[in-house]
Symmetry: C2
Subunit: 365 residues, 2 copies
């Protein structure tokens, strides 16, 4: 596959999971796109962590994305670390692993790889493409790249470009990884170590941006607990720590058990470079002119990583392009992570929109 | 000096600078309190960086804090690294440096050390105490601890406690320092190295919180520049970087030349533990009952580290306590850092308030 950077991957693996059954007309397929640290295990136990699927409140029998009715596909993104080609994969020449020599990928590359899979599955037109955060970027890219292949598009809690502040937070995470001597210039597999501390710091920093100040205050406030007896961090500061610190440390340390540091570098970079307007003569509306795709945009009031204003800007561009667009801002104090959490209003919105599209597509029984 | 943690410091150094002349009545002294990474060089060239004083737009002849009229004192906080006792100081027993064995300090300890200096200078009552961010926390603590020693108090861009989100950002910075092997359990002076990469990551993360999304977008947007040829970071990602990344890296690398990592740990912890209500039976208003101090609270519209709501909460507590309080929210898109930058409305507000207090105090010529 040819990548946007000009490099051609001679070997490419695309790891994916499916749920439900593809109908005879191949017209009931929904592609779910995952976020930065997500993967293809959207609605089943994760093989590494043993935890439930990351969207198992949304995807499953009788749920908003009803696997009794739809054939759901979820693909590990190109550059990822759960089976699709990425820095942890074998090089094209079979001489060792890619590591940081894995070519830079874009959101466009991720979508192109997904399109090859969809073609391979014999699906001409997806009933829907949906996803939150970086998943939402992929949704926008799908419609822009393959306007006739998507009946309904659901970009959730995302933006048509990555902002300076979001790039800055990603850069802090990357610098934390670079600063870890176990990263070893990206060749950590040679030493058998992983840059666990650097990757954990990157995750902690990012995790703050996924929550809201309200959610943190509600969950943790200023409550204290006893500090762990970790001599490497024994700095004698009161012998107590705040619950929010303990929570963040836990987030950092569990993340490194399931995620690859070089993938984190590659995928954050792909997000940073996402800017749909650049591809389309400076105006996102040009990406959607004449589209027959039906859009549902969703944002959350307390999301400060991809604030409502970003979704509103997409809605305006879609309106300029004459597209069929619904836009819903869900009241929530849970921040960006709300799209992954128990938000009944959000789930009802998804279900209602998909039901309407199903009628439109003649999918109703 | 007895610290809040119960430890007694037998040797204590308080480094400070003064500007202007103390009048015969010793009634024209203004104490300026610095923020987390500030120091006593408020209005003169910094001896390490060669840069102008951190508040030289506010403090100086003819400026809002007019050194032709006022005697300005600025003290390096306890736990700091510019001369006052801190982790880089000699232990009480003279056997080496404190390092991370330096006792934890509180905002209350910082203020107590300042009070000892003020007493030493023969000043019974300060004309004003002022400061932004952690400096503002010290201002609040001053009035709470020594209600008769402060005629006017100016807490700027601060809060009466540190929020869960702010604690979380500090914790990311501390973990980045802990993760740097050159930190060496806090005993880095033994190796002659400093945990430069960890401290730089901490600074980069914190720096994002000092700006606003608007300011970042205005200053950097998504503009690219050529990436530096640094082999340790050569990860082949497009060969370009965003200007905001370059800016953050510069912020990180210059910071480590002037600041001590263990001081960063000690002072962030002092901020985290600040919660004025806890000292006063759960209500900040109790800290100010019956006070005759005149207050000016200032916040900035785009400050998301210490948002206006925090200043408003202090204003309400002061009103409940029957205090004399003015509260001004300055429109600015510069974020938390606005209090250090060229904000004419802010500077006029300071000048006007101080002029009114001077008349009240009989200081007018």
């Amino acid at each position: 596959m040819a990548l946007d950077c000009g490099v051609r991957l001679r070997r490419m693996t695309v790891a994916y999971r499916t749920y439900g059954t593809l109908n005879a007309a191949r017209s009931n397929a929904i592609l779910v796109c995952h976020a930065l640290t997500g993967d293809q295990y959207v609605a089943e136990r994760h093989p590494l962590t043993g935890k439930d699927g990351w969207w198992d409140m949304v995807v499953g029998p009788g749920l908003p994305v009803d696997t009794d009715r739809y054939f759901v596909i979820c693909v590990n993104v190109l550059g990822g670390c759960m089976g699709s080609s990425g820095p942890r994969s074998m090089r094209d020449d079979g001489m060792g692993l890619w590591g940081t020599d894995f070519p830079p990928v874009t959101i466009g590359d991720m979508v192109r790889a997904q399109k090859m899979l969809i073609d391979h599955l014999g699906i001409t037109r997806l009933f829907a493409v949906m996803g939150g955060s970086m998943g939402g970027m992929q949704v926008l890219q799908w419609v822009a790249s393959y306007p006739d292949a998507v009946l309904a598009a659901l970009p959730i809690a995302c933006a048509a470009y990555h902002s300076a502040q979001n790039i800055a937070f990603h850069e802090v995470g990357r610098q934390a990884i670079f600063a870890d001597p176990d990263w070893d210039g990206g060749r950590y597999w040679a030493s058998g170590r992983v840059p666990a501390r650097g990757l954990a710091v990157a995750r902690m920093c990012a995790h703050i941006t996924y929550l809201s100040e309200e959610a943190m205050t509600r969950k943790f406030g200023r409550r204290l607990q006893n500090a762990p007896k970790d001599p490497s961090e024994a700095i004698g500061l009161f012998g107590e720590m705040f619950e929010v610190e303990s929570y963040l440390r836990h987030q950092g340390s569990t993340f490194v058990q399931r995620f690859d540091a070089n993938s984190y570098l590659t995928i954050t970079r792909a997000m940073d470079y996402f800017d749909l307007a650049v591809e389309f003569h400076g105006d996102v509306a040009n990406a959607f002119r004449g589209t027959s795709t039906r859009f549902l945009l969703v944002s959350f009031t307390s999301d400060w990583l991809f604030p409502t204003a970003e979704s509103r800007a997409i809605a305006r561009a879609l309106n300029r392009a004459g597209a069929n667009v619904s836009f819903v801002e869900i009241p929530s104090d849970k921040g960006h992570d709300a799209f992954l959490l128990d938000e009944p209003d959000f789930h009802r919105t998804l279900a209602g929109f998909l039901a309407g599209c199903a009628i439109h597509a003649g999918l109703e029984t």
